[in-house]
């Protein structure tokens, strides 16, 4: 079976050690996490984990079931097949010179990204988007020299039922 990226969304009790329980499970069963993001939800005491995991569908089904077994995990959905909005945020520190600064700013504008810090020899770009958009921006900015990248990992949410 083909290995592909799956997006799992887990609602978990916001208790000490819950991230450790989830991470430990992935390690022990040999599942490969591509990214994991955790944050509060609209409900107090409940956090949301968005986990991107690589594997064939049988493996990912095992991941989902094993996650579901963790007592502090309330619900797990594999939303890979669903219609989802997924976003990632990245901060990119790019090397600049006075000669290429305006070119960089143009690229940033095209990507509807923001420049959030300017120094004499570098600037920091903040970009939000799906993985493809982020990767293309990294490629383009790569030619100027990238000093540092920080990425959040993916967040995902299924779309509402479209109004017809």
């Amino acid at each position: 079976m083909a290995s592909e990226k799956h997006i799992l969304v887990a609602l978990v009790a916001n208790k000490p050690g819950v991230l450790n329980r989830v991470a430990s499970l992935f390690r022990r069963r040999g599942f490969n996490i591509e990214s994991i993001t955790v944050g509060h939800t609209e409900k107090e005491g409940i956090s949301r984990m968005t986990i991107v995991v690589n594997g064939d569908s049988a493996t990912v089904e095992q991941v989902r079931k094993q996650l579901d077994k963790v007592i502090d995990v309330i619900k797990v959905h594999d939303i890979t097949q669903d219609s989802v909005v997924d976003r990632e945020l990245a901060l990119i520190k790019v090397k600049t010179t006075s000669a290429n600064r305006s070119e960089i700013i143009q690229i940033v504008d095209i990507f509807r990204a923001n420049i959030v810090d300017v120094a004499s020899d570098s600037l920091i770009v903040e970009v939000t988007g799906d993985e493809e958009k982020l990767n293309s921006l990294f490629r383009l900015l790569g030619s100027f020299g990238i000093r540092e990248i920080a990425r959040t990992g993916r967040l995902a949410m299924t779309r509402g039922i479209p109004a017809s």
């Binding site: 009790a13 077994k69 007592i71």
Partner: protein
């Protein structure tokens, strides 16, 4: 009512129906132990090593069918529990492990006897807790017992800092738990049950493989009804032994690496496998890609994660074995399967179960067979892991439900003695035979002191072959008879028992076996027999590692003889 954390624990244990716990005190548990005299209804059994406490709680839980409780102090006390907790985890045994922890201000400071036991036991517990205030205590205990004993049972560890034992809080034992992430499914999905029933009704050569889940959910009657109604032979896993009477016409015994030849053949030829409460462990399936090659598979298990984990499944049913079988029995039609059943008979004739080679030499199979004969099968057998375990599985005829307690998943040497103590404490009216190897017995031999102090009337049979037998067997068969680190000397077990104040005797010949077992049975207290057996006896049949179930090696055919019967003709 305001109580201390320690009092809240005791009150909660009583509310949960706990009568006994196995433990070993220490610094951080002092306030807890100091509270015990206020609760005389809580019996405390002092073990000699914390591993023994965990195994005893496990043995108790399996025999009595309710949670077993063990406790240990912080640091080394807690880490000594680890093997026992892992054992309970792999065999789905409801054990509550209570550990002391250093006082809250010392946590994270690498204080004396501080260890992160919740971190350590994360992958080997169903759930675990650190109780950071006495106010949470009652809730944690309620949840812990609920989690340990429901769904697929398993161990739960509760770590309590020393100062939380003495902190006061209002005590109110909750009536219900609030665990939105934990809702075990008991009833099978109706459509899946109909689908399964259709497959069963249509099958020509079905087999049932019954696992420990059937024992845990006490689905004996329901299993029997299904087997008899639809005329389906019943095979068990190691831990499924005693879920179906082995003297029943439809019983084929255990499958797997050392399973009965006819059971393995039946799985190989079956067109339908009905797997109930078992998890397709590699020792049961052998080469998994060649497992039941002609069969469709119905898998009933309470743990959704077990379904599809190791083998492809045609009809998955998540639910409690008993509930599912009950529903299934309504849909399954009564029918005879004469061809298939007579095929079983033919295989059984050629490969008789519970075979014991004739002769004068004292072989281990004869010892187990004799325990069965003298007790008339009315005994709980407790084993560790290795050759003695396999002979205990093969040569005893298990007729009564839940009569084999064995370390299956983890395969823990030394499980047998403390687990037998737990089993006897849990079922004081039952005969309990601890069958041990001379290797494993030396791993927890110190619990003889517990036996003596508590006057636990277990009977101990040491299958003493002077080897770490199973490893030696593999060395003989697969490593050119190079016996590296497997020959072992032991103490004089009779003298050791005597030193502990336990009556004992040594048996070297077949003639002495039955009288010795009778003597042990007549004695009211604990009794130990050191059976000095043939050193290089092997366990057969055997499926070599990596081979398929059908490719089993049998003992030389001429040696196969059922005791008391004529030589089986080829």
């Amino acid at each position: 009512m305001r109580l201390t954390g320690a009092q809240i624990i005791c009150e909660s244990l009583i509310k949960e129906g706990v009568e006994v716990m196995f433990g070993f005190p220490g610094g951080s548990l002092l306030p807890f132990y100091d509270t015990l005299p206020q609760y005389p209804q809580l019996r405390h059994i002092l073990v000699r090593h914390e591993q023994g406490a965990a195994h005893a709680a496990d043995g108790y839980a399996r025999a009595a069918g309710r949670a077993g409780v063990c406790c240990a102090t912080s640091g080394p006390g807690a880490t000594n529990l680890v093997t026992g907790i892992a054992n309970a985890y792999l065999d789905s045994s409801p054990v509550i492990a209570l550990t002391g922890q250093v006082a809250r201000p010392f946590i994270g400071k690498d204080a004396f006897q501080e260890i992160d036991i919740t971190g350590i036991t994360l992958p080997i517990t169903k759930h675990n807790y650190v109780v950071m205030s006495a106010a949470e205590m009652a809730n944690v205990l309620k949840e812990a017992f609920h989690i340990a004993t429901t769904g697929r049972p398993g161990p739960v560890l509760i770590d309590v800092p020393r100062d939380v034992f003495v902190e006061e809080a209002e005590f109110h034992y909750p009536a219900k738990v609030d665990l939105p992430g934990y809702k075990p499914i008991l009833r099978g999905h109706a459509a899946q049950i109909k689908k399964a029933a259709r497959l069963i009704n249509e099958a020509q050569r079905p087999v049932i493989i019954s696992g420990r889940g059937v024992v845990i959910s006490r689905a004996y009657e329901e299993l029997r009804e299904l087997a008899e109604k639809a005329q389906i032979p019943v095979i068990t896993t190691l831990l499924g032994i005693s879920s179906f009477p082995e003297n029943h016409m439809l019983s084929l015994g255990m499958l797997g690496m050392h399973g009965m030849a006819h059971a393995n053949m039946a799985v190989n030829e079956a067109d339908l496998v009905i797997a109930v409460g078992m998890r397709f462990d590699d020792r049961a399936t052998a080469k998994v890609s060649a497992f039941a090659p002609k069969a469709r598979i119905i898998h009933v298990d309470i743990d959704p994660a077990e379904i599809g984990k190791n083998v492809r499944v045609d009809v998955p049913i998540v639910g409690d074995a008993r509930d599912v079988l009950k529903d299934l029995n309504k849909e399954v039609i009564t029918r005879a399967r004469l061809d298939w059943i007579s095929q079983m008979e033919a295989w059984r004739q050629c490969h008789p179960p519970r075979i014991v080679r004739e002769g004068d030499d004292l072989i281990p199979q004869y010892v187990i067979h004799s325990i069965c004969e003298v007790t008339e099968g009315n005994s709980i057998i407790v084993t560790g892991v290795g050759q003695h375990q396999m002979w205990s599985a093969q040569c005893f005829c298990y007729k009564k439900p839940n009569t084999l307690i064995s370390s299956g998943g983890l395969g823990t040497m030394g499980f047998e003695l403390p687990a037998a103590i737990g089993a006897k404490v849990g079922c004081p009216g039952e005969t309990v035979w601890c069958v041990a190897g001379d290797g494993g017995f030396q791993m927890t031999i110190q619990e003889l002191a517990t036996v003596a102090q508590e006057k636990t009337a277990i009977k101990i049979a040491i299958i003493n072959n002077g080897f770490l037998g199973m490893v030696r067997q593999w060395q003989e068969l697969f490593y050119g008879r190079r016996y590296v680190a497997t020959p072992l000397s032991g103490p004089d077990f009779v003298k050791i028992a005597d030193a502990y104040g336990i009556p004992a005797m040594r048996v070297r010949t077949r003639l002495e076996v039955i009288p010795a077992i009778q003597k042990a049975m007549e004695h009211s207290g604990p009794f130990l027999i050191d059976f000095v057996v043939e050193p290089e006896e092997n366990v057969y049949p055997m499926v070599p590692p990596g081979a398929a179930l059908a490719d089993l090696i049998e003992a030389p055919r001429t040696e196969l003889v059922a005791p008391g019967s004529d030589r089986v003709s080829e």
